[in-house]
Amino acid sequence: MAIKTLPRRRVELPGAADIITPVDAEFGSSGLLRVGRATGGISTWPTTKKPIGVPFYLNVPRTVYKLGWRNGSGTMTDSFDLGVYDAAWNRKVAGGGTARSGASAWQWVDTADTLLIPGKYWLVAANLGVTANNSSAYSAVGSAAAWAFATIFDSTTDSYPLPDPLSALTAAATFLFLPVMGIALRSDAIG
């Protein structure tokens, strides 16, 4: 007897990709950031070990398997850490801190496959040092306060490598840019 295979049904945001960055719909701030896209460039980290976070939202279970960022030009002296936290600042997965390699290029770190159930999360980055250039996707308009309006959060607490849990970030007060960074996701579960 032939076995009839039902089509797999997935429900995702329109345009959901395997790699999501803060310009994708999963990131609420994308609606604001996309109209300021011409303001990016390269930036050094404002203070060593200080974290910056941007919230994102998943509609369906998805599995993180890589985290990545784009290095800026010039020296690659500083190491970088990138992680995903839940809404209560508990770490779901992080890169653990990685020496930069490859100027003006994306750099990806493999992570343990980590299932994220639908909900709110934070993509958080911290840098060891203030020398290396980061590719910045967007720059705040004039002040960190405008960045806070975009729901970008930061903290004055040393957070390198990214700890578990993370001291709660608050509305941006220091950062004036958002690094180019992304999450590689698989849709292993049926929505």
Binding site: A25, G31, L32, V35, R37, A38, Y57, V141, F149, T151
Partner: protein, 175 residues
């Protein structure tokens, strides 16, 4: 759209739910702080959701503390859902207005409203390429003069300015 649909807690009027400025302005325009075009003018920016949503807050970003503002939200019949009333800007920063868990209907226009008392007042805004107001016309934005405080019923007309103030809505849930 399925039940239990998780969406961003905050949405901006420049997102897919509001005027698609990048679709009408191939040059992209510019995001930045800028002065209000005319004293006591209100600008009304449409937002529209594919499903029913519960709205709990509206906000804009004041880039300085000059003059007064009135921040509000209107429904599709041009009646106010919430208005802050004329309020001193006092300082730069995010200005918010709580909305009492208003259930917005799906596929229905709502209007984010902002009026400033002074042309020295500055807000975070999108400015069309070349400061050309024709880029704003297809977005559905409307304006009203002598509208501070915001009126008990909005009477919007075709805009003549090249800017759209950036507004943020807090979404508590979708149904």
């Amino acid at each position: 759209m399925p039940k239990n649909y998780k969406v961003p807690e905050y949405v901006w009027n420049t997102s897919i739910f509001g005027p698609d400025v990048l679709a009408v302005d191939a040059g992209g325009g510019a995001l930045g702080n800028g002065v209000w075009p005319t004293a006591n003018k209100a600008l009304y920016i449409p937002v529209r959701f594919p499903v029913s949503v519960t709205l709990t807050e509206i906000a804009f970003f004041a880039a300085n503390g000059t003059g007064n503002y009135d921040l509000g939200l209107y429904d599709d019949t041009y009646q106010p859902i919430a208005r802050s009333g004329s309020t001193a800007m006092t300082a730069a920063g995010t200005k918010t207005l709580a909305i009492s868990s208003y259930r917005a209907k799906a596929a229905t226009n709502y209007w984010c409203a902002l009026a400033l008392s002074s042309t020295s007042g500055q807000v975070l805004r999108w400015l069309a390429s070349g400061s050309d107001a024709r880029f704003v016309l297809p977005t559905g934005v409307m304006m009203e003069t002598s509208a501070l405080p915001l009126p008990s019923a909005m009477t919007g007309v075709t805009p003549v300015d090249a800017l759209i103030p950036i507004m943020r809505l807090q979404v508590a849930g979708w149904t």
